[in-house]
Symmetry: C2
DNA sequence: TTCCGTCTGTTACGGATTTCACAACCGGAG
DNA sequence: CTCCGGTTGTGAAATCCGTAACAGACGGAA
């Protein structure tokens, strides 16, 4: 019904999909919003409401068909396709990303990696050959790349992001410790363990005695 | 004033602090909420409102004193202290975490790493010696550890989290691709690049033509 | 067939968060 | 000393989001 689906809802769908995949793995064929909510620490009402943005997937009195709902969620999110990812920056962090085996099985194929360091160019990392940063533009124009992963120092991250955006990339996963500026129609997500820790310390401190 | 500060506000403070640190680095001594908002893509009103939960830090007509506000934010968040972190799971991901140089300079000191694999135990990674998983409980009881980083397979993550919580840890940074259950008074943050990508694909697909 | 327990989809409500708008304030110029 | 452009802090309004509650539907039991 609604063409305006809140972003918070979209962000929860992959979590639901992952939980459903785990249930399917265990051979479960049916799950209620209550059971799913219990596993994920969200209220059943929230799950039902979120799903209702996209259609009616459940059966009253029964619950949801696990493989069926999983398939629909994967369609909605586009997880039934293969996505092409490139990694910019093949330092320690970039290498870990390229070598990480968790993307491929989920349909995210790393098709290229770039680095500005000449000593890095030409080396094979995780099965692909590192290209020169100067080849980035050309590569993006000659190959479909859906998502750019930014793993460069903060000082050059904005420049890399601009380059990716100008080349037509629509989604960016940013590992650099800064907040790059992107046009409104580009998706960006930030992976920043330090920032995550820095918000938790507030609560540790609070629990330790509130006082300063 | 308020003893009930929204969590979203707390989560934004480290971002503000980081931006202020960058400004201080450049020698800026004063910044307005407008200028800061422009750099971070948030509204000036939001910044002012967020800061107002903690006091009055600005001067009308001038803005905020950069080093002064930075110091206050770091106090509020507890970033003026040294925090002790342990890493559980020293596979590829855990190794990358232990070797990552970004935690130390921000006051997060990795004091121990644990792994269940006997082949891993005793090896030195990033300057520390990997301990056996069986030593985890003992270590946590004999040493102050503030934050636990979980980098184990999803199948055993809940078990590790439970162990950390039982030993008195108050904050967890979870890299495992699942959602562990924790008591309400424990902070937990999730680092999951796959989930992040999976919400962006929805928008890529949307932009590609809306239709399925 | 009818009844009953269960569970969805949805609407209405309430709370939380963001944005708006403006009075109060600051410091410098004249 | 007074005026003025610029900026904060903040209550009020608007928006967004989550929760509650219930009508309607389903499947099995009798």
């Amino acid at each position: 019904m609604a063409l305006e689906i809140p972003e918070v809802v979209i962000n929860r769908l992959p979590i639901y999909a992952r939980a459903l995949a785990a249930l399917a793995e265990q051979g479960e064929t049916v799950v209620s919003s209550q059971a799913l909510g219990q596993a994920l620490d969200v209220t059943p009402a929230q799950i039902r409401k979120d799903l209702s943005y996209f259609g009616r997937f459940g059966k009253q009195g029964r619950g949801y068909n696990v493989p069926g709902l999983l398939t629909r969620l994967r369609e909605i999110l586009g997880l039934d396709r293969q996505w092409h990812v490139c990694v910019v920056g093949v330092g320690r962090l970039g290498q870990a990303i390229v070598e990480y085996g968790g993307f491929g099985p989920q349909g995210f194929q790393i098709v290229a990696a770039f680095d500005a360091d000449p000593a890095m160019v030409g080396r094979r990392v995780g099965g692909i050959t590192v290209r020169a940063a100067t080849e980035l533009d050309g590569f993006l124009h000659n190959n479909r790349v859906d998502i750019g992963v930014v793993a460069v120092p903060a000082a050059v991250a904005q420049q890399v992001v601009d380059q990716l955006v100008k080349a037509g990339i629509r989604a960016i996963l940013n590992y650099a410790p800064m907040t790059p500026h992107v046009p409104r129609d580009i998706s960006i997500r930030h992976i920043d363990p330090v920032i995550a820790m820095q918000s938790m310390t507030f609560y540790i401190k609070l629990a330790e005695g509130g006082g300063k």
